[in-house]
C-alpha cells in the first residue's frame, strides 16, 4: 500500500558514526527503505541539498524525500540547519523529522516552531529504534503522499 510512486529517499544528518550505523541497521531491520544517505553535520547537509562543496556532483546526492536531523552536531547544528532549510524556497517543501537524544521541552517546542514536521526522541535500545523507524516508515512511506519535485 505504498502511496508514493517512486522509492522514498531518506537523508540523515548525524555526526556520531555509531549512531549512523545503528540507524542504517534499523532501516534494514524494519524493511522501510534501503535508500538512506548520510551526512555528518549541518554544513554537509546544506551542501548536499544545494549540490555544493563535496556534493557538487548531483549523481552523488539524490534529492531526498525526507530528512532525518540530529540536533546536536558540530559546525552547524540541527536547529540552524532546520531554520535554513525552512527559509529556502527551493528546499522548504522537504519534510524534516528531528531524531535526537534530547527530550528537552524547549528543543521540542523550538523544532516545531521553526518548521520540523515531527520530533522523535531516539530510543535507547536498538529494538526501540527499529520500532521507531518502522513507525516513521509506515507513516511517511505508506500513509502520506510526499511531494514529487525534482530540483530545478
Amino acid at each position: 500500500m505504498d502511496k508514493n510512486l517512486k522509492p522514498v529517499i531518506f537523508l540523515m544528518a548525524d555526526d556520531d558514526p555509531d549512531d549512523r550505523l545503528l540507524i542504517k541497521e534499523a532501516f534494514q531491520e524494519s524493511l522501510v527503505s534501503n535508500s538512506i544517505y548520510f551526512v555528518e553535520d549541518g554544513v554537509d547537509l546544506l551542501d548536499y541539498l544545494r549540490w555544493e562543496g563535496k556534493f557538487s556532483n548531483p549523481a552523488d546526492a539524490p534529492v531526498p524525500d525526507l530528512i532525518l536531523l540530529d540536533l546536536n552536531m558540530p559546525r552547524k547544528d540541527g536547529r540552524e540547519a532546520l531554520a535554513e532549510i525552512k527559509s529556502d524556497p527551493l528546499l522548504r517543501y522537504i519534510p524534516v523529522v528531528v531524531l535526537t537524544t534530547s527530550k528537552a521541552e524547549e528543543d521540542i517546542m523550538r523544532s516545531y516552531d521553526i518548521g520540523a514536521a515531527s520530533y522523535i526522541t531516539k530510543p535507547v535500545t536498538f529494538d526501540g529504534l527499529v520500532e521507531a523507524i518502522r513507525g516513521l516508515g509506515q507513516y511517511w512511506v505508506q500513509i502520506v503522499r510526499l511531494p514529487v519535485k525534482e530540483k530545478a
Partner: protein, 169 residues
C-alpha cells in the same frame, strides 16, 4: 509529575457531515480513545484556535495536539487556514496533517511548502480509512514527541465531551 495520562485532542476541519461521521467511526473502529473534535470550515477552525466567537467560553476549545485538515471547504479553505496557522507564532507548533480527496501534485507540494506535516489522500473505502487512522495514531502518539502547547494557555482544561459529528457546529 501528575500521575495521569493526558488526553490527546485531535481537531478535524471538514465541511462534509458524512465525512465527519466516517472519520469519527474510523477513530472508534481503530480502538483509540483520544478526544476527537470537529469544526466545519477554515473560519470555524481559526475561531476555535483563537478561542473567539462560538469558542470564547473558557475550557470549550482545548488546544489540539494534532489538526486534520480538509482542503476544499467553504468560507476559508484548508490552504489558507494552513498558511494562517503556520504564520501564527502561538499556533505554528501544532502539526497539521491534510486529509483530502484531492490528489493534485500542486496541492501536495503547496501543503509541504506551507508547513503541513503530511498529505493524506482520503481512502475510498471505510477499511482503508481505519488503516490510515491507525497509522496516524501510532505515528503521532507513540513514535513522535509533541510540543506541550499549553505553554500558551496555562489554565488546565477539562476536555469537553466530543460533539457528535452530526451536531450543528
Amino acid at each position: 509529575m501528575i500521575n495521569q495520562i493526558p488526553s490527546i485532542t485531535i481537531l478535524t476541519a471538514e465541511d462534509d457531515p458524512d465525512d465527519r461521521v466516517l472519520v469519527q467511526d474510523a477513530f472508534l473502529e481503530s480502538g483509540q480513545d483520544n478526544t476527537l473534535l470537529f469544526v466545519k470550515d477554515g473560519n470555524d477552525l481559526l475561531q476555535y484556535l483563537h478561542r473567539q466567537g462560538d469558542y470564547a467560553t473558557p475550557g470549550q476549545a482545548p488546544r489540539p495536539d494534532l489538526i486534520l485538515l480538509d482542503l476544499n471547504m467553504p468560507h476559508k479553505d484548508g490552504r489558507q487556514s494552513l498558511a494562517e496557522i503556520k504564520a501564527d507564532p502561538n499556533l505554528r507548533s501544532i502539526p497539521v496533517v491534510v486529509l483530502t480527496a484531492s490528489s493534485s501534485d500542486e496541492d501536495i507540494l503547496s501543503t509541504y511548502n506551507h508547513g503541513g506535516a503530511g498529505f493524506i489522500i482520503k481512502p475510498e473505502t471505510f477499511q482503508g480509512l481505519v488503516e490510515v487512522v491507525k497509522g496516524l495514531n501510532q505515528y503521532w502518539f507513540e513514535v513522535v514527541e509533541l510540543a506541550n502547547g499549553e505553554r500558551f494557555n496555562s489554565v488546565r482544561i477539562i476536555h469537553p465531551r466530543s460533539p457528535h459529528p452530526n451536531e450543528t457546529l
